[in-house]
Amino acid sequence: MSINQSGWRPEMTVKGTDEAAPTFTGNKALMLEEALIFEIGSTETTGVEVAEPVTATSRLGNLARTAPIGLPGLSEPETVRHYTRLSRQNYAIDLGLFPLGSCTMKHNPRLNEKMARLPGFADVHPLQPVDTVQGALGVINELAVWLIELTGMHGVAMSPKAGAHGELCGILCIKAALEKRGEGYRKIVLVPESAHGTNPATAAFAGFQVEDIPATADGRVDTAALKARLGPDIAAVMITNPNTCGLFERDLKEISDAVHAAGGYVYCDGANFNAIVGRVRPGDLGVDAMHINLHKTFSTPHGGGGPGSGPVVLSEALAPFGPLPFTERHGDGHITLVEEETVEDRHPDSFGRMTAFHGQMGMFTRALTYILSHGADGLRQVAEDAVLNANYVLRSLEDVLDAPFGKAGPCMHEALFSDANLADGFSTLDVAKGLIDEGFHPMTVYFPLVVHGAMLVEPTETESKAALDQFIGALRSVAERAKAGDASLKSAPHFAPRARLDETLAARKPKLVWKEPAPVAQAAE
């Protein structure tokens, strides 16, 4: 049966230009339109051959499926073509500089991919007897050791699935530690105004009340205001360092000491660890918990929105409360898992389990491969080159774009600009869309919220000087057009697979799944 019985196809209303007529297909040479699988597949087609079932009597009870499911199939060549065509409508690091501030879009080494696909890692079940998975546990254990060393912390929880999950892990450790001390009445978590939205969302989930900490004029946490707020109701402070304005929080050690003296804990959002890896250890700044986005600092691929991986390093004070499971290496080199079974003996204060199985093993393999490839000297060079590249962008563009904190000194791994210099009626969004036509993914826009019309550029260390110069030239050109009031920028992008999309329509009448269109009425004969 054809899934799409009406034979409907999306209408391709591609405009011609002065020189060229619209094409029949809607394609523009290598820019290829692609229909949905529901429009091109059928339920009878398959690209897989499965062995005929052995003869056996069904034991499905009365539950055998009778109704059609409506899943279209494609043969292998059609499948390869469909997804290859789709892939070409994406921007990616492999295509060019991807300056998304706070997201650390660095090159993803292919050795990582090769190692993660070794059958000894890829084709191993999480519940195999531990004697049959000593190498897999060894990867977790070895990565844990390096994460602890790189951050100067005491322990690490490996299982969180991504950054926000890691944040939750850290906050739950703090909650458990407070309860153990009989101080569950501490309900307030202080979060800087510039923090990523996951910080307050996480604290609120754990039952804390969130209070904002103001920023100073130079883009950092107002240490005096923070200290003045400390007291017996403060559970924790959540700080991002380097912060979301791309600046190092100079006072973090002083803040940590004050928070500890007041009986609270310090959570550090490690989203920007790439700027300091190998040069600064958060443990030396008094941090109690910090998640590490392996997909940022340690180069595991973003994959179009995950999977991530968010191990959390913990101070001596918080380590006993970390989640299950974790690995334990014994004197003879044998590695065991501390799970529900052994928790009472080995880890009685654990707050519990956050996910099935042991965490993002495939990401651990990649991250460990990356750490070993770079080594101690290479990782330090990573931080230095990331910071160098960002400062180079900052200083090369501050004459054309407003850099709100540019005068205050160097930035760390990302350069922050604002829309202050643009012509009336031109916004950060217009600059972003203009960059798309120049062949670049835009920078992070409208974040952090503390800067009006923020543009946050994080080039990362894997860009060459030539790539940076080309990007700087492109952004300069777009910024100059926005300052001159070039109206064509308002309708950019002009050369992307799609023009600006109607997000209002999408949200007012959500169409989240494909539905068979009503057959077009046949004209009466």
């Binding site: 997000e503 209002t504 949200a507 007012r508």
Partner: protein, 123 residues
């Protein structure tokens, strides 16, 4: 019938013990295209300043607070089908809910049309 405004940009028309609540034209212009509105259920009792409704644009979600205390009589069902009414007629067809006032003296804390216009002017 008289109309009052809050500093959070809600308006309320009061007719006897019944009030009709919505958000001001200024508020809708700040929010941009409204894509979704969640109005309170009939019978819900609210204190002045409580979260009463939610209004969402593509990029923002805002709470609408109860300008006075009372019991909800009716939510505007038309907004479920067409949230754009809040943009096209915020102080008319785009009303959010009707409420029975439990304490009319609370209205004294609100602004009249003129005072609200002056308030918005300064923002």
């Amino acid at each position: 019938m008289s109309r009052y405004f809050t500093q959070d940009h809600e308006w309320i028309d009061v007719d006897g013990e019944t009030g009709t609540v919505g958000i001001s034209d200024y508020a809708q212009s700040q929010l941009g295209d409204i894509v979704f509105v969640e109005v309170p259920e009939e019978g819900k009792s609210l204190s002045q300043g409580d979260d009463a409704a939610v209004v969402e644009s593509v990029k923002a979600a805002s709470d609408v607070y109860a300008p006075v205390s009372g019991t909800v009589i009716e939510g505007n069902a038309a907004l479920a089908d067409d949230s754009s009414l809040v943009n096209s007629d915020p102080e008319g067809e785009g009303w959010f809910f009707k409420i029975t006032l439990s304490d009319a003296s609370e209205l004294d804390q609100l602004m009249d049309e003129q005072a609200y216009a002056a308030f918005v002017e300064k923002l």
